[in-house]
Chain length 189, copies 2
């Protein structure tokens, strides 16, 4: 990372890639994208975000206060470890085509039920207080997945409100799946 | 945490609880256990471990070097976000009884294939170099789960070797599921 321009192996639609793209944009790190169509499971990209945080500490993506940091990590892990792995491509393939939508919706609503409740005690303008954090980087791509799977978001007013606010920020817009080098023309915006 | 003895809401068999128990033992933090039989999904307990690391920095569970820290987090996230959520109780229930074993084995072997390869470049005595880290806290409970699901571990010599070494350490023994307040008599050792 210190030597030369970092390379992000990215897939336009992957919520894991999107999280990292938001972090790179927030920290104004210039990078090259190598699009790949093979997606690994899980929330491994959180390790990249923590690494960026340690090597490029400004702006902070983790609050200084240990309790708030724990809240940020709890929310990030709930999304990246508790929801996203259950509704990613390889798991859906294993579930079988006829059950995919129900399966993904169940994973997301059960996670969002917990998340909505947590946010009611941690949120300010964003997921934890009024500063953008790693939790917000996880929230927006997950809400986009929820929309793809036609999850009804009415029971989640806090999630919806924070998501809407975050999507007005430039870092969340330039990193959006509809604006990546490998986005197919019909999905561009 | 600063005021009074911390309370761990724990389930003897949960790999998430076990990870945290190892961290508490390594940091010599005295705590009370409240056994609970309700288990939340995912790797949320990594937030507790990071919090412990920040408030009780000795002994370190994350290496000082940012690249090594990223390796530790990558391995931890692979296990806690990429493997464990796919084989936990609530997902297995959703999968249906007749498919549970195959499902869990597939999730674990696909994760262990990636993990074995990563460890070949990061491991020393333990997962990352020669110091016990958060990655090791994730490894041992996951290997125990693999054994419960009768996964053949012969293709994973590095995973098996590190697991065996770690199980000789006291922190991994006192925190073991077979020695918890809520361990049923027939599973005690």
């Amino acid at each position: 990372m210190q030597a030369g321009k970092p390379i992000l192996y990215s897939y336009f639609r992957s919520s894991c890639s999107w999280r990292v793209r938001i972090a790179l944009a927030l920290k104004s790190i210039d990078y090259e994208t190598i699009p790949i169509n093979l997606i690994k499971d899980g929330g491994q990209q959180l390790a990249i975000i923590e690494y960026l945080e340690e090597t490029r500490p400004t702006p902070r993506l983790l609050p200084r206060d240990p309790k708030k940091r724990a809240h940020v990590r709890m929310i990030s892990d709930l999304i990246a470890g508790g929801i996203q792995p259950l509704q990613n491509l390889s798991v859906l393939k294993q579930v079988g085509q006829e059950n995919q939508l129900t399966w993904a919706q169940k994973a997301i609503t059960s996670g969002f039920n917990a998340l909505e409740q947590i946010l009611q005690s941690t949120a300010g303008r964003y997921c934890v207080g009024d500063e953008v954090s790693m939790a917000d980087l996880c929230l927006v791509p997950q809400v986009a997945n929820a929309e793809r799977f036609k999850v009804d978001l009415t029971p989640y007013p806090t999630i919806s409100r924070i998501n809407k606010t975050l999507l007005t920020l430039e870092a969340f817009q330039v990193s959006h799946p509809c604006r990546q080098p490998d986005t197919p023309p019909e999905l561009r915006a």
